[in-house]
Structure formats: structure tokens, C-alpha cells
């Protein structure tokens, strides 16, 4: 057996259950790797080594005493994106306005994984309030891409994707409001699920765009994402938009077949301006699936190019309402005058929110304000109906839709920081799934000539996660892209 940090979640679980190594050894190995690489990558905002080792000893005790039927994820290390509350550890959301906030409760999706026995090693870096595509908007400094430190890891779950790619943890939580799981997975060569809206609980997730926010997972292969998602998904009475629907078995078939699977290939996602290596890698993956029995079907999602303006009206509008709660009263820092309520509100918010967050609050406030509501917000909601209808119609013809996750591979730091609109264009292929509510599975399908990963996404009808996992798993059984790892230990000449 090689390094413990090289193991997938499945391999680590088997090793723990067979007694090949202890949870303490497994957790210590990952903590050591984090110590080694964190100065280069900055994937974490908060680390909790003492808590993790205490959890590991407890897991080892349970494994000794109850080795026949232990909790399903007992003793396995995980990381949690810092927009999800974990009792007792700071939850900054990448923002100075929550710098001192220690949540008194744990998010339901996280609690379910803790109840299954997993051990959190820390909280991962994110763009402030999950608003961004690069982690450059984190108030705590950006995360670097393990494949090339001069490039961004994607965002907003960039810390989680970088940590998983660099083998600091086998799996991590992410959240996806407009692509924040899938896009960093594409940029870092990891596998991730953006679930159907309502499949995982949002309770304890720091809200950004409430009609779009989803909680999901980032791993190194589809089998691991299916295992983790099994215990993450499910109904939560504390989230009014959680769906009361049984969670199916996500167990993967040993030799899954793609015979007769209809893969929709939407013309609108293969457009001028897309990096040629991205297009060829994604088309190559579809061709591979055809050799495994699938049938590619050209389809059209005609309103795709309206998703960007629709998203950048709806998400900021919802954010402007959600972020009204950060006012210096109940948590976080307080600035301004002792005897002037207005000054307290405006100074605290004006100084402690970062530039992108203020930009989106301003945009959303404008779109909701008197005289503009119909022209912007209501109009965007109507076009959202058309985007959703595109998917409904497509899924009458095909079983899944295959598309690139992003038009390019990971871009360099600073490339888009002066031009918000150019940054928003990075999300053009991921936004439609959030607007329609449908699930998306992202995984690597190749590399560009600089050695940066290319990601593909499979989208399916609502609650078709099991199907997406089977298809992705079938592809990964026949390909090796997901088994390539960045050599982040080596000195990087570009950096």
C-alpha cells in the first residue's frame, strides 16, 4: 500500500474496517500533508487538528468495540466549505463580516455526515459568501490551483476542490449556486455533484441565492461521490424547500452498461470562443461513451445564452435580501457610532463586505427597487421559466445532457479581476442547471497542453443523481483521467 493520503474514500474505508491502519494514522497522514502543502495552496481558512485527532481516537475505539456494524463513514477525514456551519469552529464565509462568528449549531447536511462517523479536518476557502469563480474574492486570500500555482482553482468551492485534488483530504463539502462545485472540479480535475435543488438540506448553509443554493460533494472519483452523497442527501424539516422524498440506493453497479443511453449534446454549449482543447476533450468523452453503448443525440437548449443575465439579476436580488442580516447587531464586528443606528449599519456593512459582495448587493437592490422590479427581476424570473422549459423538453428526448463545465481551463490570477462581466462569463455553462434546478455531475475528461484539467458535466432530470452516478462511473471504469494527480510537492517554476 502506498501513502495513506493516496487512498480514495472507498479504499480508506476498507483499510479502516480491515484493520490495516487506524483512523488516527489516517487522520495524522492527512494533517501532515496539509501542513506540507497549505503554505503553497491555502486551501483552508480554519484547521482543527486537535478536534480531528480526538474524533479519530473515538472512531478507533468504536471500531475496536463494534467492528461488525460500525457507522458507514466511521473514522474517515473530510473537509467542510466555510459557508456551512459546523458547531464550535468559525464560519467566516470568506468574509470579514463573519470573521468572529462561531456558529452554535451544525448544518444538517454536515451533521448527517458527522452522524455517519466522518471526521472534519477543517473549513475550506471560498469566495466571499460563495460569490465568485476563482476564490480571489475570499477576504482571507486566494487558494492556488494544485496543477499550476499561478492559476486559480475555480470558485467558489475552490478550497475544497484544491484540497481534494492535492490529496489533503479524500472528500470535501461544496456548495453550488451558479457552478461553485462543478467549475472548481473542472479546474482542479476532481469529481463533484451539484444535486437537484431540494435534495440536500440548506439548513445551516450561509444563504446566498436561496432559490438556487445547493449543498453537494467534491471527491476524486464518482464512486466516492455516490458513497458520500448517500449519507448527505435527504429530507430536513428545518429547510422549507427540502423535498420529502426517499433517498434511493446510490450503490454503483460492478459493470454498468451504457447500452441505449441517450446523451443529449446541446449545440449552444459548443460555441465560438470555447478553448479548442476543452471542446475536443468533451467530444472525446462523449465518443468514449458511445463506444460503451450510448447514443449521442444533437439537441437544442435555445435559451442558454439568456442564463447569464437571468442569473446575475436573480442571484444578486436574493443575495441583497439574504445579506441584510449582516448589520452588526447579533454577530460579527460592529463599526460606526455608539449612538447612531444608521451609521452602525452603513459603516459595518460598507467596511466589512468585500467589493464583489457589495457589487452584487447593489445590483440586487437595484433590480428589486421601485420602478425597476418589473423590468429586471420579474423579467428575469419569466425568462427563467423558458430556461427550465428548455430542459423539460430536452429530457423528453434524452436521458442525460453532456456539456463542458466551463469554456476554458483554469485561468491565471488577476486575469478577470478588473472586469466583473468577464468573470461572470466563466459561469456561462453552469448557470442553466441552477436556474432549472436540475442535478449536474462534473468530472475530468482530459488535459490541455499546459497540463490543466478539462471538466465535463452530465446533467439529468430532477432527482436523477443515481443515473448520473452510474453513467459517470461507467466512464471512469474505462478511462484514467480521474486517476491523474498534480505533483504539487515539486517546486513550481511558474510561481
Amino acid at each position: 500500500m502506498g501513502e495513506l493520503t493516496d487512498l480514495t474514500l472507498h479504499e480508506a474505508r476498507n483499510g479502516l474496517l480491515s484493520g490495516a491502519f487506524s483512523s488516527r494514522e489516517l487522520v495524522e497522514a492527512h494533517l501532515q500533508r496539509i501542513d506540507l502543502l497549505e503554505p503553497r495552496l491555502h486551501a483552508f481558512i480554519t484547521l482543527a487538528p486537535e478536534r480531528a485527532l480526538k474524533n479519530a481516537d473515538e472512531a478507533d475505539r468504536i471500531l475496536r468495540e463494534n467492528n461488525t456494524d460500525p457507522p458507514p463513514l466511521i473514522g474517515l477525514p473530510i473537509a467542510v466549505k466555510d459557508v456551512l456551519c459546523l458547531e464550535g469552529l468559525p464560519c467566516t464565509s470568506g468574509s470579514k463580516i463573519l470573521e468572529s462568528f462561531i456558529p452554535p449549531f451544525t448544518a444538517t447536511a454536515v451533521q448527517r455526515i458527522l452522524d455517519a462517523g466522518a471526521i472534519p479536518l477543517g473549513k475550506t476557502n471560498t469566495d466571499e459568501f460563495a460569490m465568485g469563480s476563482s476564490t480571489e474574492n475570499s477576504a482571507y486570500g486566494p487558494t492556488h490551483n494544485p496543477w499550476d500555482l499561478a492559476h486559480v482553482p475555480g470558485g467558489s468551492s475552490g478550497g475544497s476542490a484544491a484540497a481534494v485534488a492535492a490529496r489533503m483530504v479524500p472528500v470535501a463539502f461544496g456548495t453550488d449556486t451558479g457552478g461553485s462545485i462543478r467549475q472548481p472540479c473542472a479546474y482542479c480535475g476532481t469529481t463533484g455533484i451539484k444535486p437537484t435543488y431540494g435534495r440536500t438540506s440548506r439548513y445551516g448553509l450561509v444563504a446566498y441565492g436561496s432559490s438556487l443554493d445547493t449543498v453537494g460533494a467534491i471527491t476524486r472519483n464518482v464512486a466516492d461521490v455516490a458513497l458520500l452523497f448517500q449519507y448527505m442527501a435527504g429530507f430536513d424539516p428545518l429547510d422549507a424547500t427540502s423535498i420529502a422524498r426517499p433517498v434511493p440506493e446510490y450503490a454503483l453497479l460492478k459493470s454498468p452498461s451504457l447500452d441505449g443511453l441517450r446523451i443529449g449534446v446541446p449545440g449552444e454549449y459548443f460555441i465560438e470562443g470555447i478553448q479548442p482543447e476543452v471542446e475536443s476533450a468533451v467530444l472525446g468523452a462523449i465518443a468514449q461513451m458511445e463506444t460503451q453503448g450510448a447514443v449521442a443525440v444533437p439537441i437544442s437548449l435555445p435559451h442558454t445564452h439568456f442564463a447569464l443575465p437571468v442569473y446575475y439579476l436573480i442571484a444578486p436580488a436574493e443575495a441583497s435580501a439574504n445579506l441584510a442580516r449582516y448589520d452588526g447587531v447579533r454577530f460579527g464586528p460592529r463599526l460606526g457610532s455608539e449612538d447612531d443606528l444608521w451609521e452602525m449599519f452603513t459603516q459595518t456593512r460598507g467596511n466589512k463586505f468585500g467589493a464583489e459582495v457589495k457589487r452584487r448587493i447593489m445590483l440586487g437592490t437595484y433590480a428589486l427597487s421601485a420602478g425597476y422590479y418589473d423590468a429586471y427581476y420579474n423579467k428575469a424570473q419569466k425568462v427563467r421559466t423558458l430556461i427550465k422549459a428548455d430542459f423539460d423538453q430536452a429530457f423528453e428526448q434524452v436521458d442525460v445532457i453532456a456539456a463542458p463545465v466551463a469554456p476554458t481551463t483554469a485561468f491565471k490570477f488577476g486575469q478577470h479581476t478588473d472586469d466583473p462581466l468577464a468573470m461572470y462569463l466563466e459561469d456561462v455553462f453552469t448557470l442553466p442547471a441552477n436556474l432549472a434546478g436540475v442535478p449536474g455531475l462534473a468530472f475530468p475528461v482530459g488535459y490541455d497542453k499546459k497540463g490543466l484539467p478539462v471538466g465535463m458535466q452530465l446533467m439529468g432530470p430532477n432527482f436523477s443523481e443515481a443515473r448520473l452516478f452510474q453513467v459517470g462511473h461507467a466512464y471512469q471504469l474505462e478511462t484514467q483521467w480521474h486517476q491523474q494527480w498534480p505533483m504539487v510537492e515539486k517546486p513550481n517554476v511558474d510561481f
Binding site: P309, G332, R359, T385, K388
Partner: protein
């Protein structure tokens, strides 16, 4: 359409954000660009299209109105920037 500095100041007041003059100028430009981009939605005739506020095909669920234990007051006050006698302290809301 270009936003004026006065319009930016009006939105900032609605959003309770203190902005520097440099920020006001920057947001006037950037928000104008983004709104110009969003104007392409006007190409679509949506008169007969209903708006989508939620993708869920469900009605809002109501729970039983039952009292249950919430979080402890001292726990909830731990994150407060200022407190007074087990309550959140704020500047005067009425009068001065």
C-alpha cells in the same frame, strides 16, 4: 443606460452601505455595464410567460404549531458584538 452618482447613492442608502467616492464611481460604471448586458432579455416576448420564483413543484409546507426547545440564550448571545443584561445592545432606535 448609465447610472448617475446620485442613483448609486440612492441604491447604497437602500442597501445600508457606506461607499467611498471611488467606489461610487466604480459601481456606477460596472453596474451600468452589467445592466446594459441584462437588457438583452428585452429581446424575448414574455408577456404570456409566468415567472418562476422556485423550481420546486410543491406548495409551501406548514409544520405543526408546537413549542420546542430552541438554542440557549447565552449561547446565542456569544457572538453579539455588544450586549446588555442578556440582550443585544444597539444604538437608540427612536429619538436620540
Amino acid at each position: 443606460m448609465r447610472l448617475s452618482i446620485e442613483e448609486v447613492e440612492h441604491i447604497a442608502a437602500l442597501a445600508r452601505l457606506a461607499l467611498t467616492d471611488a467606489e461610487k464611481r466604480q459601481y456606477a460604471d460596472q453596474l451600468s455595464d452589467i445592466l446594459d448586458y441584462a437588457a438583452r432579455l428585452k429581446e424575448l416576448d414574455t408577456d404570456l410567460i409566468p415567472p418562476t420564483a422556485s423550481v420546486l413543484e410543491m406548495t409551501l409546507r406548514l409544520r405543526e404549531d408546537q413549542a420546542r426547545q430552541g438554542l440557549d440564550r447565552t449561547v446565542l448571545l456569544k457572538n453579539a458584538p455588544e450586549k446588555l443584561e442578556d440582550q443585544f445592545k444597539v444604538p437608540p432606535v427612536l429619538g436620540g
